[in-house]
């Protein structure tokens, strides 16, 4: 009980710091010249990620397995990987604008976990006691995190270029035309990075299902939606090498891919409950 309360308090702390980072990124969006070019928001988010890392390490020690089993754990891990992926991109490429979306998504995931899901630790079920468990989940969530950042970067590109006043919007943040197009190219590079991870996530899941249940593929809603997400990102990558599709349509496909990814992660649980479809993968707690 004591550790449970400590964990809840720590999670509140994480949410508070992520909320602060969200506000700072929002302030940077409105007053780009005032807040030290977004660096302050970066450091606030970094401290939130460190606090979140402590929370995850504590839970891993207590549960004696990586915290991927329940939806509460998965949401927390998802938010953490999204934040870490963005911090890396922000540090390398000095881009702060996507921060508002990234922290918004991470914050929403944390709040859903804390206020909507049970934090109870449960022993690993026999089917999850496999070497594939960590590899499959780490690869899948790694790709999810990168796709969230890719979507946020693409959204910034669209916000800066759509409409007649597009160029002027970029100038507010010291970006010329080539500067704004960096976001479009960055989104492409991020998806290039995330795509093999998603592929490995799906393949390792199939290998695991073969080992545990004797069927590598069963057209379960979760499996099918992961394949839909994979197809949409494959579509995006092919669109990028097709001249007529490489710009706006590719941007739109990136956004569709993001929606599919979120649906694979969370929407499928809702879908199987709504339509009473049996699913071996849906989170039941």
């Amino acid at each position: 009980m004591h550790s449970f309360l400590a964990e809840q308090s720590l999670f509140f702390g994480v949410i508070f710091v992520y909320g602060l980072a969200f506000l700072y990124y929002g302030a940077y969006l409105l007053f780009p010249r005032v807040l030290g070019k977004g660096k302050l928001a970066f450091y606030v988010l970094l401290s939130g990620a460190l606090l979140h890392a402590v929370l995850i390490v504590f839970r891993t020690i207590e549960a004696r397995y990586p915290p991927f089993q329940t939806l509460y754990e998965s949401l927390s891990w998802f938010a953490f990987s999204v934040v870490v992926s963005f911090l890396f991109v922000e540090w390398r490429r000095k881009v702060h604008l996507p921060g508002i979306l990234v922290t918004g998504i991470a914050l929403a995931a944390c709040m859903y976990a804390l206020f909507g899901k049970s934090p109870e630790i449960k022993p690993l079920f026999p089917a999850l006691q496999s070497g594939w468990f960590v590899w499959h989940v780490a690869a899948a969530f790694g790709s999810y995190a990168i796709f969230v950042v890719a979507f946020s970067v693409e959204a910034v590109f669209l916000a800066l270029t759509l409409g007649r006043a597009g160029g002027a919007r970029g100038a507010r943040y010291g970006l010329d035309e080539s500067g704004t197009h960096v976001f479009h190219r960055m989104a492409y590079n991020l998806i290039l990075f995330g795509y093999p991870l998603l592929t490995f996530g799906i393949v390792s899941g199939a290998a695991w299902a073969q080992e545990a249940w004797g069927r590598y593929w069963g057209w379960d809603p979760k499996e099918t939606w992961s394949l839909i997400t994979w197809s949409v990102y494959a579509l995006y990558l092919h669109a990028k090498v097709t001249p007529r599709w490489a710009r706006r349509r590719a941007s739109a496909l990136n956004c569709v891919g993001f929606i599919c990814m979120i649906f694979t992660f969370l929407g499928v649980n809702w879908l199987v409950k709504l339509l009473h479809i049996p699913s071996l993968h849906a989170y039941t707690f």
Binding site: P123, L192, P196, E211, A212, V232, L235, T242
Partner: protein, 440 residues
């Protein structure tokens, strides 16, 4: 011939790939919106008779075996193969590009300095191939890193092999279940007349051999539980079996994630089946865990979910469990079952002053067996696919088409880069700097 060429051009286009991916995604989406593989009466109940009939005709209740899904998948396979063939052809026979119009960079090259440019490229570890020459002009292809086209062919080929693996699975896979009580022996077939390939053989009048069978003997079955937060959590199901075939005897404890493999047949831990007799006065009721039952003299329905038996791990200690189960009861006017107490083996439990005793408890293990010759094929295909994809994405590749026109004293460069770590502008700047260094 012209029609065939035009068809080939369409089937090998990336544009078609885009359309097919959209169609495949749309079909898959349908497959998650409509429940798949249900019973007709369930569909009639959910959608009404007329709509269910229409949806069924459109294949919406079995999208993944419908003609349109298989057709789009088939075309996608052809598109993959043809695109790979085209990729290979263009790699083998690089065309001299329209350099002036399509060049990424144009540099000044004084007469007699074209060798310095080649030297600068060689210094940057480029492999140079001359593809054309005239009195004042020469054209080259310079490649650094693995060429991206053959690499992309590797993963497209891997994906095409995956399709073949699926076909092999569909032709050769068969499965079944066997329930065994401890000490019991049953035969498990190694092939089946229900395999698609055997059904096709039978249709063609070809002989379908009698399936060989293996003898499977269950020595013991044990369920392990962990006691955590005042609850039972299943930890493992263990079936100790002996498999006997022509080649000898094999013993193994089958667990979830640890199946038994024998000559292409794999046997998995799948389920369990629990039964006992419930003695109430003079009457004996045979009970199956999970199924509702009635007891003479009591108006209502009883049920038990799982009989806890086997080994319990509690605070680092292990102990043998006496079989026991929570008993649920639903009265004639009640909507939900309520837990009314606990039945323990050979102990009396009183419900409304009626004594109930659990006896003759037996538990069978449920094993699932499957043969699927496509799996090994799929592992190879996935490995190829992943290797190709990782190289293509993470390994930088630079390909520069170079055209030197000494009459104009200019060099036209057209660069194509692949891989996350490849930067076109930086690479061209490096080559240019080195070229200037060489000429100095």
């Amino acid at each position: 011939m012209k029609l065939l060429k035009s068809l080939y051009r369409e089937l090998s286009s990336t544009h078609l790939t885009l359309i097919l991916l959209i169609l495949l995604a749309a079909c898959m989406l349908l497959g998650t919106v409509f429940p798949q593989g249900g019973r007709p009466d369930q569909y009639v109940e959910a959608f009404g008779e007329a709509r269910a009939r229409w949806f069924s005709r459109l294949g919406l209740f079995d999208v993944f075996h419908s003609w349109y899904f298989l057709f789009v998948g088939g075309i996608f396979f052809v598109n993959l193969v043809f695109c790979s063939v085209e990729g290979w052809k263009s790699h083998r026979r690089p065309k001299a590009a329209a350099f002036k119009e399509a060049s990424t960079a144009q540099w000044e090259v004084v007469r007699g300095e074209s060798d310095s440019l080649i030297k600068a490229l060689e210094d940057r570890r480029y492999r140079i191939k001359k593809i054309g020459e005239s009195e004042f002009t020469s054209s080259f292809i310079a490649q650094r890193g693995l060429p991206s086209r053959p690499v992309s062919i590797i993963y497209h080929f891997g994906l095409a092999l995956t399709f073949l693996g699926f076909v092999l699975s569909a032709l050769t896979a068969f499965d079944g279940e066997v329930y065994l009580f401890p000490g019991e022996t049953k035969m498990v077939p190694q092939s089946s007349p229900d395999m698609t390939i055997n059904r096709w053989k039978a249709k063609l009048g070809l002989p379908v051999g009698e399936p060989d069978s293996l003898s499977l003997h269950l020595e013991s079955f044990d369920t392990e539980y962990t006691w955590y937060n005042v609850k039972y959590y299943p930890r493992e199901w263990k079936s100790a079996v002996t498999l006997t075939s022509d080649s000898g005897t094999k013993r193994k404890v089958i667990e979830v994630n640890a199946p038994l493999r024998h000559r292409g047949l794999t046997i998995y831990q799948m389920a369990y089946n629990q039964e006992f007799d419930l003695v109430s006065g003079d009457s004996i009721v045979h009970v199956e865990a999970g199924a509702p039952f009635e007891v003479p003299g009591i108006d209502g329905t009883f049920s038990v979910r799982t009989v806890r038996t086997g080994t319990l791990f509690k605070r680092g200690e292990r102990e043998a469990l006496t079989p026991h189960a929570d008993l649920y009861f639903k009265g004639p006017d009640e909507k939900k079952s309520q837990r009314v107490g606990r039945l323990t083996l050979d102990s009396k439990f009183y419900f409304r002053d009626v004594p109930l005793t659990m006896g003759n408890f037996t538990e069978a293990t449920g094993l699932y067996f499957r043969r699927d010759d496509g799996v090994a094929f799929l592992y190879v295909a996935f490995l190829l696919f992943m290797i190709g994809l990782f190289i293509r994405i993470f390994w930088p590749s630079y390909r520069i088409s170079l055209h030197v026109d000494e009459s104009e004293e200019r060099a036209y460069l057209s660069a194509k880069v692949a891989g996350i770590a490849a930067y076109q502008e930086r690479e061209l700047a490096e080559i240019h700097e080195r070229f200037l260094g060489v000429t100095e």
